[in-house]
Symmetry: D2
Subunit: 344 residues, 4 copies
């Protein structure tokens, strides 16, 4: 197996940093270029506890990214930047894993409403493969452009799809309440994201308007067969990383907790990165700094609802870890390559 | 106005501490006894930044509480302890404000299931007044026994009742996702509540089984007219104090966000401790260390659900502050007496 | 006693916010104007949990502050702004309490080095009274311009002065290690102060170069008789508010822990806001949201050093609380007026 | 290279957990037994995000540890337990890496004072090798019993030794102020270490009495040539893991910052796990979840003191990581084996 050369664009954002850490240790990858205006000309080793050749690399200006010469490019950039860069890099023969939302939503007409731009690359959009291996493994093999899922979409689609697909829960009337660590908002020089404003605080944001909503619904619909419009309320909580999503679904008539738990177990049997457990055992801490998703389902017999709790590290299974997992799948490698993380 | 003498039983718990702070500054109260086995014989001034006569008081053993001589007793004790103490103190002529769940649920038969004990005081239970002034002001005047609401019940009943009462939302199919600071679990010597276990962690707990569920449903039913079984998923988050509850309700056919916002505004017009605002402006930080509730409603037009967000300080509006507010109401005093808190 | 009208300039910073809270409840003050460009035209009630007339005030642009008509002005502004505003306001007859460093250092020549500006108001500088009542009470009576101490200077001067003044410790060879909450850096839109960068992090900053160094040394020298150049290493820790300073001093030959503890007790006997206790009982939590300083001294018999630990809330005893205390002293009022805070 | 079988005693403590994570991924180790009463009979995979054979191991009762059959035993146990277990395991031919203080202090007579027990194993004590490879590499080769350094001793000895050894700073008059995350106190069911008590709090503890003091002084004396009694004040700060130590030393007459920085650089040139940088760039976050130490020195020209700032992860370079590094050294393996950690 020869190694692939790889570049990371947007390498100083929180997802870009995790990508750098992971790629530097991936046995089949060789980082050759990192792009970040923020740290332009600084060495990687001055920013991350890495040794070896990666440490000596210097960040380059973002504007040079379209000239990247490598086998693979990871784009940890805003959707608008990915939309511009991806076609150029693909035209030059690179495989692209895009961590933004630019190529996630099949329905091009959704972009103006949810992302505030017109999608200018309908063909690329049609060719992109959604990088959630547990639900979409087959499509990934050989993919030239991977649309890496959003963090909320990953946590929630993994939680919802098996129950709906198994006919145990209705695709309609789903309500999701999710909590995200602050790194989900990206690296920002903003009063709103300062320590003093966020520590000891909680709030809901973008209620019913979060740009991940269409992605979540599309993903569940695609892999479970159907998904009605769902209620999605994300909250900002004072932790650095991680997402915990609590999803309520209406059960099909006779479905019970054991059925639902069995469906989850079945859906993820043999999966390296998904663990199913009791819903109140799902804990963010256990998945932090791993590529894992922990899932659990409870049946609220009074309210007659399934409650599925799902936890991931937003920067790993929700971003950089999944990007490598998807690349591994695209290349036909062991999906866990470079992802045996310690957690903690 | 002569001042009332007051005692606090369970004074070293988090709610008991807040009660002590507040009562020490209440113009119409004079703290004369505090009971806590944990700090027995220590002075209040060694535990709290208080001056004056309160600072010189010494904590007494809990076993002496039934002999308390005072006008008012606040019970910040487990429900089983309150169940024993309240009748004794009332028999001796004291007014009792109980912060536990011992006298909150009218349906005595609910106690074995939700609280794990048989209720032995049906007459007292029937006579107790629920201490949520914004919904139950009239009943409180002159009350001998106040059942001070639970923190979750306060946050959620304030959020739900106006929309249901106004006919804008269905009493059925309600789902509530709530987040609580760690002090909600009380003061505990437990690995599970240690800093290392909880910092940077999130989890759901007692899904559909929390003992506040029947109280919440009873309260909404009583003050809004009806309430079906609701889904209630509480979460533990790494903050010290506060509750944020996100409630989803199905709107009546033609109801819109403006209607719901207007119903909230109307319900709490003139209330000193409730503020209505945009749902995504509700922030725990703004109510921390105050007796306030902040509420906001959004309409999710895709999911066709109202989302009401509610924030309180669990130790104040959810416990000690509300206890004083209820006593103020019971005595016919200005409800805000002793409750002009700085927040912060 | 008639009330004084008061204005706050820089009202949206963290110290300005605390000043607003405190002044709004001060029995002898009547807030009539608040200046902040950030929140210009917004109402105070939309930003702080205040009721009554203060809530209805609207923030005004900073540029209007020089026209303030009031009895008292609190300047919670950068030193350069205070340097400009104070003379104008004093010329118009206002009493000024300045929370910046603009008027704290008697030696005018220190400003270029430590504050990066030439001091243009030597006469005002000479007339300013240092607002640390426990050390400088007499000078404050009737003061027209109060230079409110810095937070580090307050914590450290209170800790060091009694031992040196009593001849128990040397004024030379002092080393101070201090930890500050993030609000000490002010309200900033900066990546460096974002939640993700600071949570779970610790670092030292401005080692030996902090602008409070000359103020600390001057204050100790003035009130204890002498102070050599000291080592001062401040650290940034992931908490919102508070300072803990650990000071090491060389004892005079025969001095023991009991002597030092007695000197601290004696120095602050009768002080409302200073408590002396065992050094390892001094805890930030106990002074948070109060105007108190907690102090304790230990004698390290092996290293032959006194260790004095000092804790204050940087925004209260280190800023806004002390400003009110100093105004109370200047007016001849009870120093604790408006400062009976709950903590917590 | 054949792999060694390894057991971990005290596997559910915070250091034991990190050891488990690291050993599970170490290419030359094969975990065969873990001992913990707390989790007895539970599987490792239910507690840690590990796959493969380690995940299937079940924790065994601590009482069985003396029967451990393996090539290596890691003791993450209290000193008293290590003192009992180590001789038994060594007698049965195991190599032992002890993470407690039981074998760290050469002067047996220090144990009663600092550890509250008489040392019953003087011969083993004499034979133990101190496991700080950067200072004591030669002694480690072939060691049968490694006394793994304490976390404070690691951070501080690395900071102090080069300056003293180079004659740039005096071994007398050293003062150290250190801050430790809560995991340093171990896993405890204690009110004092609960989230509510520690979040937003700071305090100093065991001033001048910490049991690491003799170890620090012995280590500096051994590797730098001399060390007088030092002042050591540890503080507890609300973070989960990590130590930041700020050390002040008196410079030899003509020494300057550049000399000191050069001495640090020289001392650790070629070291894989030590980085030297500007003192105010040393940040806990950068070493968290790595086996690294970051060091920096500043010269405070006014106070005429060197200030060395040192940061490590207390559970890795301060415990489990160093234990593996020392084993690697003892075995003659690459010291970094199994320690290429991601950080973050």
């Amino acid at each position: 197996m020869h190694t692939l050369s790889a570049g990371i664009v947007g390498a100083s954002g929180y997802a870009g940093l995790e990508l750098t850490r992971l790629a530097a240790r991936h046995p089949n990858l060789r980082l050759t270029a990192l792009f970040s205006d923020r740290w332009s000309a600084e060495s990687v080793g001055s920013r991350l506890p890495l040794d070896g050749p990666t440490a000596a690399l210097r960040y380059r200006a973002l504007g040079e990214a379209s000239q990247l010469e490598a086998d693979v490019a990871f784009l940890a950039t805003p959707a608008e930047v990915s939309l511009e860069l991806a076609p150029k890099l693909i035209a030059r023969g690179l495989r692209v894993v895009d961590l933004s939302g630019a190529f996630r939503i099949a329905d091009r007409s959704a972009y103006p409403r949810w992302y505030n731009f017109e999608h200018t690359q309908p063909e690329l959009l049609a060719s992109a493969r959604y990088g959630l291996p547990e639900l979409a493994r087959e499509g990934l093999r050989g993919a030239q452009l991977v649309a890496n899922p959003g963090c909320y979409a990953t946590a929630i689609a993994l939680a919802l799809s098996p129950l709906i697909k198994a006919g145990l829960a209705s695709p309609d009337g789903i309500a999701v309440s999710a909590m995200s660590g602050v790194s989900g908002a990206g690296r920002k020089a903003s009063e709103d994201f300062s320590f003093c404003e966020l520590d000891e605080d909680l709030r809901a944001y973008r209620i019913g308007k979060h740009q991940h909503v269409p992605e979540i619904e599309q993903t569940v619909a695609r892999f479970a067969g159907a998904c009605g419009p769902m209620s999605f309320v994300p909250h900002l909580v004072p932790i650095r990383r991680g997402i915990l999503a609590t999803c309520t679904l209406r059960p099909a008539q006779a479905a019970e907790q054991a059925d639902a738990a069995a469906a989850l177990e079945r859906a993820y049997a043999g999966e390296r990165f998904v663990r199913v457990m009791a819903a109140d055992k799902v804990s963010l801490k256990d998945v932090a700094r791993t590529n894992r998703a922990h899932l659990g389902v409870a049946f609220d017999s009074r309210a007659k609802l399934f409650v599925v709790v799902s936890a991931i590290d937003n920067l790993l299974k929700g971003a950089a870890g999944q990007a490598l997992q998807a690349l591994n799948a695209a290349m036909g490698w062991d999906e866990a390559l470079g992802l045996d993380l310690l957690g903690g």
